[in-house]
Every structure is written in structure tokens, then in C-alpha cells.
Subunit: 435 residues, 2 copies
């Protein structure tokens, strides 16, 4: 057996604590699979753990960067989080010293991934981050290694368990967004300030990582168009159900004639697609490759143990001597990410409107769509509920065939101007192809 692999772990939150327990519990398994013992040698945290934590023999550092720069370790594990600050400083220090790094930090990778990839290569120190996307789901390894022979057409995923939990509960229990968000907060699935999750920003960070791996582009969080789930109502979920869809917050990176789109938004997904069947806090990623066809990975996207499982896999890869470039190919070969404006997106659209309850209103709307060559696949107009009848508007749902975002937005702006559409229209993109 090889000599032990000495770990320095920065950050003893939920994931760090799970990782240490996992490595203790699974030492024999780790030795069998990775060929060496894995020993916690140093840690950093906000405070030194007391004698009961079993860390007496482990050197404590107050400062993660100091540990990265000076501790007698073979792998630096960064579980601090945050794009900048302590995490970024420490990871730079470790790589600069030629120390392999394992990180779960999607925000840091989205912000500084290219710079870190260059640092990793120039110092021949691998930087692995399976835990940064999809928790325990091995999507980073799948894109980096298992699809080496494929041209990727699209990666689409449910990458935020909080949003999926909220949308799933709204749908199955007919509860409002606010009620489900409060419930997610009560259960610890959502932060006190939930903006980062429900606004789609967490999904965007993860999507930026997947896009770089899938398309060989420089990671570029600014290339991602982002919309959150705050505006989704029970009326949308009911209409989706009737039309054969579910609404999911997807991150989608896709090869199009205009370049590679990266977008995060609530999406209508056919009920029969694997992504639509992913409920609750689970994550799922579907990958379309020209050779493999469609591959879907489903599993726990968060939680201490599932995330620690991914961190442990990266550590095992390092122990076995696997040395791969950060984004699957040499950083120098990564191309600039396209920044495709959302206005150029082409696809089908779901539109929910509050239409003036008067003769000719629907005709006026249809005319605005027709002018832009938008053809309609479905129109649903139900008898108006009492309150809207009193308010003089009727709820109408339209589904379009393929068109552009620019055309839809323009048609709707004119319909609002015409006075036939009374409130801000709800617009949700449809993903048609089989996933």
C-alpha cells in the first residue's frame, strides 16, 4: 500500500463534518478503492473544535490560506464557500504550491474558474469539483470523461433542490409560492434570504460550470440569462398540467445557430420527460450527445452526506493519480463563451394573459401574433372566475409553435399598448424535444 494521503480540510460546516465522518467510516473501503489510507491532518474553521470532536491529533489553522500554504498535506479540500474571500485566497495558495485541490464551491468556480484552471495547469496540481454541481450526482465526471467521444448538443438540468421542492409542492398540494417558500425555509431547504436560490443565481453558477465542461468554453457566468421562479402561480401550474407539462426551473446550455445559449428560467417540460419526473429536492441533468443520445442522471443535489460522497470521489481520483485538466481540456484551448441575447432564443412559448373582457379583444391579440408570424398551437379560455369577471378581464392561456423571444415580447408589448391585455403577461419557455 502507498503511504497515506494527508488531507487538509478548510471549513467544518455540514459538508465538512459529513466528509470527516465518511472518511472515518469508510476508511477500509477507501483503501481498497484508492490504494492508500486517507488521513485528516489539518483543518481550518471559524473556531477550534473542542476535545470531544475527535480532532485532537489534527492540526488546527485559523486561516485557510495559511493552511493551504504551509500545512504538511497532500490534498487541500475547500468547503468554505463564497466566490471570493477566504475560499479563493486559500485555493490559489494551494494550487500555487502544487497541491491538488478539491472544492465544492460553485460560486468561486463560476467567478474565477478560468483563472484557477490556468493556475492548476501551470503548477500541475489538479482542481476537482464534482460536489459543486448536482451534489452527489457524478455529472462533472460524466461530462469530463465519459462523453469524451461526443459532441454535446445540450445540457439541461434541475440544479437547485430548493426551487424544485417549491415547484413540486405548489403543483402537488396546490399551495402558493409564498407558503411553499416558507415551508422550505422551515425545513432548512431555503436560506433566510432565499434570493440566491429562487432567483435562479445558484442554478446559473452550476450551469456555467456544466457549459464549460460540455462545450469547451471559458466559464462565463455573465453569459447566462437568468430568471427565477418568483412569478410562477398556481394558475400557471394548473394550465401546464392541462397541457401535459410540468414547470421546472431549468438551467439549459444548448448549441444553437446563434451560438451556445446559456439560460436559467422556469420551463414547461413534457410530463413524460425524465426531468419532469424529478420531484422534490432531487436534482437531475439530461445531456444530449451526438453519439450517446440522451443520458439522464438523477439524485440528491444537496445535503452533507451526498455532497461529501462527491468530495470523497475526487479525493480518491487524486489518490489514484488521475490528473485531468480542470474543464476537461487544456485551459489554453478553451474558447470564449458565446453571449447569446435571450431575445434571439427560438422555441415554443406559453403565455398567460389577462385579456379585456370585450368583443374583439382576442382578435386584436391574435392579429399582433399573426403580424410576427407566430402561430398558435393551443388556446385555453375558461369561464372567468367571479373576481376577474367583475374586474373586466378574462384569463387566457396561449401556446405557440416555434418563434423567437423577440417576436413574442414585441407582440405582447403591442397587445398591452392596444389595451386588450391588462396585466403584465406571464411568459414561460417550452422545451419541446424529448428530455
Amino acid at each position: 500500500m502507498e503511504k497515506p494521503l494527508r488531507l487538509g480540510v478548510a471549513g467544518l460546516g455540514v459538508v465538512g463534518t459529513s466528509l470527516i465522518q465518511l472518511l472515518q467510516r469508510r476508511q477500509a473501503e477507501f483503501i481498497a478503492r484508492a490504494g492508500c489510507e486517507c488521513v485528516l491532518t489539518a483543518y481550518s474553521a471559524r473556531r477550534k473544535r473542542d476535545a470531544t470532536a475527535g480532532l485532537e491529533q489534527v492540526r488546527f489553522f485559523e486561516n485557510a490560506a495559511a493552511m493551504a500554504a504551509s500545512a504538511d498535506i497532500d490534498v487541500f479540500v475547500e468547503l468554505i464557500g463564497g466566490a471570493d474571500g477566504a475560499a479563493f485566497e486559500a485555493v490559489k495558495a494551494a494550487l500555487a504550491r502544487g497541491l491538488p485541490v478539491v472544492s465544492a464551491n460553485k460560486a468561486m468556480l463560476a467567478a474565477h474558474g478560468l483563472r484557477l484552471a490556468n493556475l492548476s495547469e501551470s503548477h500541475r496540481a489538479p482542481l476537482y469539483y464534482e460536489a459543486a454541481v448536482g451534489g452527489g450526482i457524478p455529472v462533472v465526471k460524466t461530462l469530463r470523461e465519459s462523453l469524451a467521444g461526443n459532441t454535446i448538443q445540450r445540457v439541461a438540468g434541475i440544479l437547485n433542490g430548493t426551487c424544485n421542492y417549491i415547484l413540486s409542492r405548489m403543483e402537488t398540494e396546490k399551495l402558493t409560492f409564498d407558503v411553499c417558500l416558507a415551508e422550505a425555509q422551515r425545513l432548512g431547504y431555503a436560506e433566510a434570504d432565499p434570493t440566491f436560490d429562487i432567483g435562479g443565481f445558484d442554478t446559473a453558477h452550476k450551469l456555467a460550470i456544466l457549459a464549460s465542461l460540455a462545450f469547451g468554453s471559458k466559464i462565463d457566468a455573465a453569459a447566462v440569462s437568468v430568471e427565477g421562479i418568483e412569478s410562477i402561480t398556481l394558475a400557471d401550474l394548473a394550465a401546464a398540467d392541462e397541457l401535459g407539462f410540468r414547470i421546472k426551473l431549468l438551467g439549459v446550455a444548448e448549441r444553437t445557430p446563434h451560438g451556445i445559449e446559456q439560460r436559467v428560467h422556469p420551463t414547461m417540460v413534457s410530463k413524460s420527460a425524465p426531468l419532469a419526473q424529478t420531484m422534490g429536492v432531487l436534482n437531475a441533468v439530461s445531456i444530449d450527445g451526438d453519439a450517446v443520445g440522451e443520458l439522464t442522471l438523477v439524485g440528491p443535489g444537496a445535503g452533507g452526506d451526498a455532497t461529501a460522497s462527491a468530495v470523497a470521489a475526487d479525493i480518491a481520483d487524486i489518490a489514484r493519480g488521475t490528473r485531468l485538466p480542470t474543464f476537461g481540456r487544456p485551459a489554453a484551448t478553451l474558447v470564449d463563451a458565446d453571449r447569446v441575447p435571450m431575445q434571439r432564443h427560438e422555441g415554443g412559448y406559453y403565455v398567460r394573459l389577462a385579456v379585456a373582457d370585450r368583443p374583439g379583444a382576442m382578435g386584436a391579440i391574435a392579429a399582433r401574433f399573426g403580424e410576427r408570424m407566430i402561430s398558435l398551437e393551443a388556446i385555453m379560455q375558461k369561464r372567468a372566475p367571479k373576481e376577474s369577471a367583475a374586474s373586466g378581464v378574462v384569463p387566457v392561456v396561449l401556446m405557440t409553435h416555434g418563434t423567437t423571444e423577440a417576436s413574442i415580447r414585441d407582440a405582447l408589448a403591442h397587445a398591452v399598448e392596444d389595451g386588450v391585455v391588462r396585466e403584465k403577461p406571464q411568459v414561460i419557455r417550452i422545451e419541446r424535444e424529448a428530455f
Copy 2:
């Protein structure tokens, strides 16, 4: 860039042809990801390809083993198939020479995997076989690498597209087994002699591979209990539907108090489970790990391009210098597989009976179950169809709570002896836990 990786490909069937096309088409991608060009240098096949095949510059061997033993190649790719004969001889010759081998041959691995793993280690030549299980789904890599920190509790998969196609069509179109099998043969999904697929033997080979990877045991095809799908009727599918289940041919390897069970049989799977939602020729594997929880991978389990995608990934791993033991840990550490008799299996059971249409018959059956402490979760007895009423039997479906296979078989044998059950009972195992 490193010097080119020279391939020798044995077998130019569907997968071999797809692989050669893929490597030509994706040369730039392969170079970017694997760091070197990948050049077809030699091939063997039943006949030399003519000038139009683009293989003029590639050395032809009539004999795969001769190519493995003597060609100037860096990787030997075995796409011949079959447990013994040319494939096995050639792979042994390649490994003995220290040549890395990529194979898609589940039958050979199931029969000779341990011997090949030893040969691979003693000659320091890796043997990879992602394509042998689940086609394009990266399940071998996931078990070998991504779950290094987990104790696996269970691996369960739909591993044969032919069976899943037949069961899916029977269910959705209410067609009989024979009609769906004929249709599968017409579409090229099933062989002229379909026994290997529908009898569960192909699934058993793949399960044996997954079990060795998941549980660190010596691969042992004889440890797998096998039942096929030939006996599944529309009556079973209709009853399953009513009870909230689908019937799938699963391969299941599971840690139990009696050892690690390996079994292939038609299985009742809750409709909400990812495996139940896998329809048609797709494959899917669910893995329960103590840290990760449940992970499900879904994708194309067969077809030239999907299989070639997996072969290309193994070649890329070799090009990158990844060197891992055949079954994820040193062959010397693999333990004997348990051979748990199916009689010891514990779980719920679905039982469909032709019950004598006379007073007291159901009571007699219930008594036989009661004697063995088998408690019933559901009983469905519908008004008998005319033909069965005339024949004096009534169809009855029972679902049991957890019990043992021995108890169920014993209770049914007695009920048949008692004369209250008239035909061979249909028995289908239920997988209850969430997958």
C-alpha cells in the same frame, strides 16, 4: 501533444463500424480531451474490407489473437463478443503483452472476469469495459470511481432494452407477449433466437459485472438467480397498473442479512420510481449508497453509436493515463460472491391465481398463507370472465407484505395440492423501497 494512440479494433460489426466513424468524426474533440490523436492502425474481421471502406492504410488481420499478439498498437479494442473463442483468446493475448484492452463483452467478463482482472494486474495493462453494461450509460465508471466513498446497499437496473421494449409495448398497447416479441424481432431489437434476452441471461451477465464493482466480490455469474419475462401476461400488467405498479425485468444485487443477493426477474416497481418511468429500449440503473443516497442513470442501453460512445470514453481514459483495477480494487482483495438461494429472498409478493369457483376456496388459500405467517396487503377478485366461469375458476390477485420466497412457494404448493388453485400460480416479486 503526445504521440498518437494506435488502436487495433477486433470486430467490425455495428459497434466497431460506429466506433471507427466516431473517432474519425470526433478526432479534434478527442485530441482536445485526451491530449493525443487516436489512429486506427489495425483491424480484424471475418473479411477484409474493400477499398471503399476507407481502411486501405489500416493493417488487416484475419485472426484477432494474432493482431493482439503482434500488431504495432497501443490499445486493443475487442468488439467480437461471445464468452469464449476468438474474443477471449485475443484479450488474453493482448493483456499478456501488457497492452491496454477495451471491451464491450459482458459474456466474456461474466465468465472470465476474475481471470482477466488478474492478468490485467500482473501485466499492468488496464482492462476497461464501460460499454459492456448499459450501453452509453456511464455506470461502470460511476461504480468504480464516483462512489468510492460509499458502501453500496443495492444496485438495481433495467439492463436489457429488448425486454423493456416488450414489457412497455404490452403495457401501453395491451398487446400480448408473442406479438410484442415478433415486433421487437422485426425492428431488430431482438434476435431470431430471443432466449438470451427474454430469458434474463443477458441481464444476468451485466448484473454480475455491476455486483462485482459495487460489492468488491469476485464476479460469479452462477451466483445470479435468473427468471425471464416469458410468463408475463396482460392480466399481470393490468393488475400491476391497478395496484400502482409497473412490471420491469430488473437485475438486482442487494446487501441482505443472508449475504449479497444477485437476482434477475420480472419485478413490480412502484410507478413513481425512476426505474418504472424508463420505457421502451432505454436502460436505467439505480444505485443506493450510504452516503450518496439514491442515484439513477438513464440512457440508451444499446445501439452502435451509444455503445461506441462508451468505448471511446475508455480509450480516452487510457490515453490520459488513467490506470485502475478491473473491478475497482485489486483482484487479490475481491471476496467470494455469496450464493444466496432465491428461497431465502425476503420481500413482498404479487400472486395471481386461478381459484376454484366454489365456496370455501378462498378461505382454504388464506389458511395456507396464514399458517406461514404471510399477511396480505391486497386481494383483488373481479367478476370472472365468461370463459373462466365456464371453466369453474376465478382469477384472484393477492399482494403480500414482507415474507420469504420459501414461505410463498410452500403456501402455494399446498394450495395447489388442496385443489383450490387450479393452474400454476403466477408469482412476481415486489421491490418496495424507493427506487
